[in-house]
Amino acid sequence: MRDRHGRAARTTVLAWQLAVAAAILISWEWGVHAKVLDPFFLSRPSAIAARVVSWLATGSIWRHLIVTLEEALLGLILGAVLGIGCGFGLARLPLVARVADPYIKMLNAVPRVVLAPLFLLWFGLGIWSKVALAVTLVFFVMFFNTYQGVRDADPVIIDNVRMLGASERQLARHVLVPSALTWIFSSLQTSLGFAMVGAVVGEYLGAARGLGYVIAQAEGTFDTTGVFAGMTVLAAVVVIVSAGVTRLEKWLLRWKQA
């Protein structure tokens, strides 16, 4: 059951994870059944499952899900491009970095939720106001990681590559970018989560489509089952996408495994 490092086998961990989920769901269902919990406030697992199944069966959820994923993906890509670009630029231009430092900290301290109404005003009710919100979240994660990654590049490796004849551009390509990529990929999970949060919060505050809109609608009619069902779909999507990201990360950082 345990390998030589004392770690429990993967199947054991999985079994325990399933057991925890089952325990929570069963006691929740039982609590409602025994009238300990009020289904008006908490709904019940069987009702939530039935709702999710009916959404999938009628196909009504798909257009919302696709919109949310589209927003999150666009936010992730745009945020990554801007964040990586700025991170790389500032890491190579120390003077600019020092000038920009307080402004970056100020911008990062702004709670994104207060920006959402502004983005609605600027970019309208469609997807772009949500993309903008996701970008503001993803940008800083990508920016800080790229900046740190470039600055963290091993000076001995830099010297070695210089001695082997690298120009400044080759140095960036062979050392600084790969060094930063390890940081960027390690932060991809966080960025992905933030992109989803940006999209859903944006939809929640004003939209005609998307998972955030579905949840907001359900809340508007005190439909707790709809709220939990929306959260369930969101959580399932994040788990599936992040499993994909984990595999991508493993492949891209394969050189790290000794």
Binding site: I157, V161, M163, L164, A258
Partner: protein
């Protein structure tokens, strides 16, 4: 080949004080020779090597390489570092081929020549491994191939084998010598704190004084026959006599450096 003329290097400490690492060093190193620089730890050996490499500028003085004053990175030299300097995200073949790739050699030719070098250092089966998957000795061999493939006139080595265990180290020293003796002889400058290693490998040993303001205390020729059998050499009377003679100089400096840094 390499000429140092009154080379001095100062460093500024964060508190603003000036620390002179090496002071007024003048020396010439002939082409095709194997020179070793020894000295107590912290004596500025690496500083001197970095200046010859062009990675560090001299505060005063001139460095000439083949008569030309050195500006910027020394394009006629390869440099083998004490620390691991392989690119962890490139596999062994890509690492060895790197110098060729940077010079614009086609991918295919670079890979072929890298494979030839890998065979030469006995790592052909490991071409697709990443550095993290290799032992310390294997990584040093990759670094050796990486530096020899670009075929520079000068090879600078900064305690390249100091992190290895004694047996691996002796094997690497033997491989280094056979590489140097069979290829057209490059000018090698080998920094070490180990006098035994210096005498076993080099034609000439330069003793550096304890820091700060290190200078060259003495130079000793090492008239031992080549090719050398490193496993036997160290116990021969000629070797032991040489060791005694050079150690007399080095000992003074080691004692001085220990007096200045108690507990170091």
């Amino acid at each position: 080949m390499i000429a140092l003329e009154h080379v001095t290097r100062d460093f500024e400490s964060p508190s603003g004080a000036t620390y002179t690492a090496i002071a007024d060093v003048s020396a010439t190193i002939a082409a095709g020779t194997f020179s070793a620089i020894v000295g107590p730890s912290g004596c500025g050996k690496s500083t001197l090597l970095n200046i010859v490499a062009g990675l560090l500028a001299a505060s005063r003085g001139t460095i000439r390489i083949g008569g030309e004053p050195l500006r910027g990175v020394n394009r006629r030299a390869a440099y083998m570092f004490q620390q691991d300097a392989l690119l962890p995200w490139k596999d062994v073949r890509e690492n060895v081929a790197l110098g060729l790739t940077l010079a614009g050699t086609s991918r295919r030719e670079a890979a072929e020549r890298a494979d030839a070098w890998l065979a030469r250092v006995g790592l052909a089966p490991f071409a697709r491994h990443y550095p993290a998957q290799l032992s310390g000795g294997m990584r040093k061999r990759v670094a050796m191939a990486q530096n020899w493939i670009i075929d520079r006139d000068i090879v600078l080595m900064d305690e390249p084998f100091s992190a290895l265990d004694i047996h691996t180290r002796q094997r690497m020293e033997t491989e280094l010598l056979s590489l140097w003796e069979t290829a057209n002889r490059k000018t090698i400058v080998f920094v070490t704190h180990d006098l035994e290693e210096a005498l076993a490998l080099a034609d000439e040993v330069l003793v550096l004084s304890a820091g700060p303001a290190s200078r060259i205390v003495s130079r000793h020729a090492v008239p031992l026959d080549r090719p050398r059998d490193l496993l036997e050499l160290r116990t021969t009377s000629a070797f032991v006599d040489l060791y005694r003679a050079v150690w007399a100089d080095l000992r003074e400096e080691v004692i001085k450096s220990q007096r200045e840094k108690p507990g170091a």
